[in-house]
């Protein structure tokens, strides 16, 4: 009965991207090469969005969006593929001076999202004091404790987002989202820090089916925090989305090798990123078949 009063938020990848505008500040959930909303990122690659400011515990989401020419500024503490420490696109774009960077301690990034989620102008934090994070962010201010200790701390400004993109294992049609892996990362904070939050998931299930997969505390985001739900199986590929699937290390290695070589990158783009999401997933299956040594069926005579 209550369910009938809930908004049905099911949408699709391209309609989510249709809600975004050039110049927006967009937060992307996950961590490094872990549970990134890659299907939504790939949908942005098909769009004309430009000059985005990306806030992320950065992984291939940041690299791909830079490679597509969609990014003006990255706000992060790192960009890494985890098992491959350096993200090639991020690396090359920084070395060319082609992308602006707000470089923060990763704990400061957490605090900036928490401040935004709480609608506070800033939150005090010790991290950053004495480091060159202060030098390369001259707008960063300190604040002195008004209590007897008088301690001076970094005043980490709120990282207010226009939109957040996250990927979870399960969700219902109303936007209640569930993670089944070991780490929630900061996806709930990204949603609360954002004006609009979009959730892709491996599978949309009936609300009554959510607790069949995991305990109540696995329900990381609720429908008050989410504005759109997309069912995108394989939507975190090639990052990890355990327990549904681990990181596709072979494909990530292919991505990283291609990203480091402009000619190879054109081949990679043509093979994997030129079409829509189903065509990406088909190309990935072909890649997996080749990895497994299954040859392509011979053309009929």
């Amino acid at each position: 009965m209550w369910e009938k009063e809930w908004r049905i938020l099911i949408t699709n990848l391209d309609d989510v991207v249709g809600e975004l505008r050039s110049g927006m500040t967009i937060g992307i959930g996950g961590w490094g090469s872990r549970r990134k909303p890659m299907a939504l990122v790939r949908a942005i690659l098909r769009s004309g969005l430009r000059d985005l400011e990306i806030v992320s515990f950065g992984g291939p989401d940041v690299g791909l969006l830079i490679a597509g020419g969609h990014v003006r500024r990255v706000v992060c503490g790192f960009v890494s593929l985890d098992t491959i420490p350096l993200e090639p696109h991020f690396r090359l774009s920084r070395q060319r001076g082609a992308v602006e960077l707000t470089e923060l301690d990763e704990g400061m990034l957490h605090w900036g999202l928490l401040a935004a989620a709480h609608r506070l102008p800033f939150l005090p934090i010790r991290a950053g004091l004495g480091s060159d994070v202060q030098r390369v962010n001259p707008e960063l201010r300190t604040v002195r404790s008004p209590y007897a200790d008088g301690e001076e701390l970094i005043a980490m400004p709120a990282l207010r987002l226009d939109a957040a993109l996250i990927h979870l294992n399960r969700a219902d049609a109303a936007g209640n989202g569930q993670y089944l892996g070991p780490d929630p990362y900061f996806d709930d904070l990204f949603c609360l820090a954002a004006g609009r939050a979009y959730l892709s998931c491996e599978r949309i299930v009936p609300t009554a089916g959510l607790l069949a997969s995991g305990p109540p505390q696995s329900l990381l985001v609720n429908r008050a925090m989410v504005d759109g739900v997309v069912e995108a199986p394989g939507g975190a590929h090639f990052t990890s989305c355990v327990p549904d699937y681990g990181r596709d290390e072979a494909f990530q290695a292919r991505y990283a090798a291609a990203a480091a070589d402009p000619t190879d990158w054109q081949r990679f783009r043509a093979e994997y990123l030129a079409g829509d999401e189903p065509s990406y997933q088909r190309a990935v299956r072909r890649f997996a078949d080749r990895q497994a040594g299954i040859s392509e069926p011979a053309a009929s005579p």
């Binding site: 470089e103 923060l104 990763e106 704990g107 010790r126 004495g130 480091s131 994070v133 780490d183």
Partner: protein, 288 residues
């Protein structure tokens, strides 16, 4: 001073350990340089009690696990994801199936520590990290962010990651697998981890949790136990001279009159490293 040469290809044979303790003969043989480094990393956590040990790199990870199995059982260790793993007490060979509740690696999950909780442990000071350094100076300022001018670096590396927060909140040590003048520099390009001079400039209140413990390299162990907290040679690994270390260091090092040799692994430690923690010998690939 000189020290006996390490044996990088441990083979059968009897060899008295250099600290006078008898290392069991075949099949253990002499410790390799990598094994000396594992023990030197383990020593970084001696006396830390029940705190989160966060090693970056294979040799620091082996060191942390060795410390947890021997003289520092209070240490908390993660699997690199969100599980805290404790020794399960069962004598399970690495890679074999363990009893119920074990991961087959001789370890059992004792807790849950997602990234958000790691940040809380950092701020609470209940952690000692042993991390890498692309550059480090004589006050222990460390750089993992980028090489060259920050606005357009010659080489973009990881970014500062958690180094600023780590160094201002809890003890930090460093692991440098290739001790050279490219790493030990006069001035780092982007201060990620805060050194003693910058911590001192913040004043005693802001810097009260700042502590750089040791720098372990493939040549030596260094620390900051000098009057002005500049880097000091604490010990050299077997086969390395103080001159070797200063030649590979791009700033003047404090050298005590008598530089001891880094403590060698005990027979028990060697058996744990070789039999349980790293039977494939991957540690030998992390140093030159």
């Amino acid at each position: 001073m000189t020290a006996p040469s390490p044996d990088n290809n441990p083979g059968p044979g009897t060899s008295p350990a250099m600290d006078g303790e008898m290392v069991p003969a075949a099949p253990l043989g002499r410790p390799s340089r990598a094994e000396v480094c594992v023990v030197a990393c383990a020593e970084a956590w001696r006396g830390d009690g029940a705190i989160l040990a966060s090693p970056m790199g294979l040799i620091p990870t082996l060191g942390a696990r060795l410390a947890q199995l021997t003289f520092a059982p209070g240490l908390l260790l993660t699997d690199g994801e969100a599980h805290l793993l404790a020794p399960d007490g069962a004598d399970v060979p690495d890679g074999a199936d363990g009893p119920d509740g074990t991961d087959g690696d001789g370890r059992v999950t004792e807790g849950w520590l997602p990234y958000r909780s790691v940040f809380t442990m950092v701020a609470a000071g209940r952690r000692h990290v042993l991390m890498g350094a692309a550059q480090i100076d004589r006050f222990g300022n460390q750089n993992i962010s980028c090489i060259g001018d920050w606005s357009r670096p010659k080489a973009q590396l990881l970014g500062v990651r958690g180094a600023p927060g780590n160094t201002i909140n809890h003890p930090v040590s460093y692991w440098v697998p290739r001790h050279s003048r490219r790493v030990f520099v006069d001035r780092v390009d982007m201060v990620s981890g805060v050194g003693y001079d910058r911590a001192g400039a913040l004043g005693p209140r802001a810097a009260r949790f700042h502590e750089l413990r040791v720098v372990v390299t493939n040549l030596a162990v260094l620390d900051f136990q000098t009057a002005d907290h500049t880097m000091r040679l604490r010990s050299v690994h077997p086969g390395v001279t103080a001159g070797d270390v200063t030649a590979a260091t791009g700033f003047p090092l404090a050298i005590p009159g008598d530089v001891p040799v880094t403590r060698l692994p005990t027979g028990q430690e060697l058996a744990l490293i070789r039999g349980q923690l790293d039977p494939a010998g991957l540690r030998e690939r992390e140093i030159p």
